[in-house]
Symmetry: C2
């Protein structure tokens, strides 16, 4: 008997995990590598940043999900480099991994378009650590405002700016406004919700530009109801500890700024030495493989593939999962048969629609010609997200938490952990002073 | 009308919070200062360290608890110093606080008896950050063992040492053994539970020495059933990255060591310049006030008061809460009346019994002459702890999580967050490398 085909999957997000699940009970050996021990349900990450959900409610250990996949080994390690010529994945810690097939699903990271220094003042939202840091900054801003007697400075402390009017930015802005108005409003004496200002900045001429223009307008109305000021056509010139300076010269004072204006593919893709686009995504063939390397597939946010409208497929989980099933089936078929006799089928994305949530009972959704907004869209969003949350327990816990928040307007996960007590981004001195304490690294 | 009496409370633990609650609806102005925004239900902290509960399930914002206490201001700040002569509490950030009465309830910290360098290798368990760091180390040890091919090194990675056989040490050791055997056992391919070794080291001749000797014996039996090796009379000579060296010269190799062998009062007490004992506790008068300062009270773990048996009252929450009610009533009475005409009543501790949990269906309890062990003691422990958990929501969530863990043997909060992927204590180089990334400070 010949050795079984070795498949290495890089990344335990929606793409990598779906690929591993599709390869269960096939005649291949799978190794899934991720630098995190957990799969993250990213569509709800903004809820962790806004203290609505606890980190463990939207994350499940990858091992637990793949417990019954007896042909799969899960490895917690960082992928350092990929040697396409020798079919090797170099990981740290641990020895390099050989592969017959490689599925790259490393996902995306926050991208500052050449302004990496902005990250310090305006963190993005891609990981649990990001979410806990943003939660920390938002909650500390309210605490600092409670101590502050100068009304001008208190106003700055209670000003929050979200940069980027895509679904993540809209969700964050809506959630900050709700947090301030309902959950925190009754807990503070001085930091009153009426003084809170939430600004959503978008460079283009409308928010949620991937949706129909009529839905963008409805989203702005719903955001305004929550007290969010939406500023379209606002390009950012500079971000500092004091706030944001627009290209128009206007200065927006704010203690807390978050970045939702751009993502790029994982830096792993750039190291491959293959063709990439401006967002660092690998240009893939019609079957999702790398040109010249039929044994290497790139899927999800890290892949650039054009849709029927000649626009790149969006960086959403359905694309990643459908690509994952497509390439896993190709691998399974080729591993079972005798090589690549047939031409591979091309990948075709089936768009089941998209949605964005704004707040309690507020959302928009677009499914083909059907356009929903308000309560109906929100209920649809709720059902879909609860349904796809991996793990029965998490589904129940999240549902419980949402029901609780809905009924009481409270937030259950309002914890500030770690050492810093000042609002705003940490100074470099503070970062250094926390370094020698292992307990503060959590 | 004269100005209302100003009461400053330092610490939002069981003592400080109970004092604030007792002073609600009295004619005093209360300011509660804590450097954390949350009250922590410390008796369940070991469950967070062992991935059974999420941090937000055992912690509630102090503001939320005191939301309806209209005479109370909650301040998130670090107390830098106390000026007893001028009746001032210096905080950072923010201006100093004047007081007419001061209640010091700063609690205890982990104490290494002159070996502060051990903290790096053997963290203690006093805060949520500590718990998340221990959780991280335990989970990373299993991940590293899964990668390891050398059986000797794998054994070291799967060896866990808990130093200190008091209630916290017993709870942690039992919980590690359960985590390895049930929750993780089915998720790993190589790191098998049979190879796991959990050692509980105690310097005295028995564990749980505050209980009746017969219960100590029963605890050892229950720990052995879970697979914990209990070593009494074991004094620690040295702790390194490799493990623990005993005074006998024996070397115990282990990747993960935790410290539950001693606590001392908060360093705030030492700065007061008053009489303290070896554990840094302030010697208080019979009414819990500082000798010479009838307006300053020290309560809870930071106070040294002798019981009827001439032994110091233990550092448990019932002592702190009873002291809190005692001093709050004295303050309320004196603020309402015209000064200190009557002599103050002395504090008397009412001991309602004590208990320690060992694992699923395993515990010991001692209430007066009544001694329980096993399932009955565990059920009693469960009822008491659920009951006292602050906040209706948390009670439900914790109950749900426990029921879930009990039925499925799973653990819901098995998250490794932050940047490090190696097992064991972080090297100083790793600590430095995480410093410049604000997002990793969560």
């Amino acid at each position: 008997m010949s050795k079984p085909t070795r498949v290495v999957i890089v990344g335990g997000g929606f793409g990598g995990l779906t690929a591993a699940k599709t390869l269960v009970k096939t005649d291949v050996d799978v190794t899934l590598v991720d630098r995190q021990n957990h799969h993250l349900f990213q569509p709800l990450l903004y809820q962790v940043a806004m203290a609505g959900l606890a980190p463990s409610e939207i994350a499940v250990p990858i091992r637990t999900i793949l417990r019954r996949a007896s042909n799969t080994t899960v490895l917690l390690a960082e992928v350092e480099a990929i040697d396409l010529a020798h079919k090797l994945v170099k990981v740290s810690p641990g020895p390099a991994l050989n592969y017959d097939y490689l599925i790259l699903a490393p996902g995306a990271r926050t991208h500052y378009f050449g302004h990496d220094d902005w990250e310090h003042y305006a963190p993005g939202l891609k990981s649990l650590d990001d979410a806990v840091e943003i939660r920390r900054r938002v909650l500390l801003a309210f605490e600092a405002a409670e101590r502050e007697t100068d009304p001008r400075e208190r106003k700055r402390l209670l000003s929050f700016i979200v940069i980027g009017g895509g679904p993540t930015g809209v969700e964050m802005a809506g959630a900050i406004a709700e947090l301030a108005r309902y959950a925190l409003g009754r807990d503070f004496r001085r930091a009153c919700p009426a003084e809170t200002r939430v600004l959503l900045l978008e460079g283009a001429d409308r928010v949620l530009s991937s949706f129909d223009p009529s839905l963008s307008e409805k989203a702005v109305v719903q955001l305004s109801e929550l007290g969010v000021e939406v500023r379209t056509g606002s390009l950012v010139e500079r971000i500092t500890a004091e706030g944001v300076v627009l290209r128009s010269g206007e200065v927006l004072a704010a203690s807390t700024v978050t970045w939702a204006a751009g993502v790029a593919a994982s830096t792993l893709i750039a190291k491959l030495g293959v063709d990439v686009d401006r967002a660092g995504r690998a240009k893939v063939a019609l079957d999702c493989s790398l040109p010249g390397h039929p044994e290497v597939f790139v899927i999800g946010d890290a892949a650039l593939m054009l849709g029927p409208d000649q626009k790149p497929l969006p960086g959403v989980s359905p694309v990643a999962m459908q690509m994952a099933r497509h390439v896993a089936r190709i691998i399974a078929q080729e591993a079972a048969g005798d090589g690549r006799s047939e031409p591979r089928p091309p990948f075709r994305y089936v768009d089941k629609g998209s949605m964005a949530t704004i707040g309690r009972s507020r959302a928009i959704a677009e499914v083909g010609a059907l356009k929903l907004s308000g309560l109906m869209a929100w209920l649809a969003w709720l059902v879909v997200h609860i349904w796809y949350l991996i793990g029965f327990r998490n589904r129940l816990l999240v549902l419980f938490n949402w029901a609780w928040s809905y009924l009481t307007y409270r937030r259950g996960a309002r914890l500030i952990t770690g050492g810093r007590l000042e609002a705003g981004p940490p100074s470099l001195k503070q970062l250094e002073s926390t370094a020698p304490q292992p307990a503060a690294q959590a």
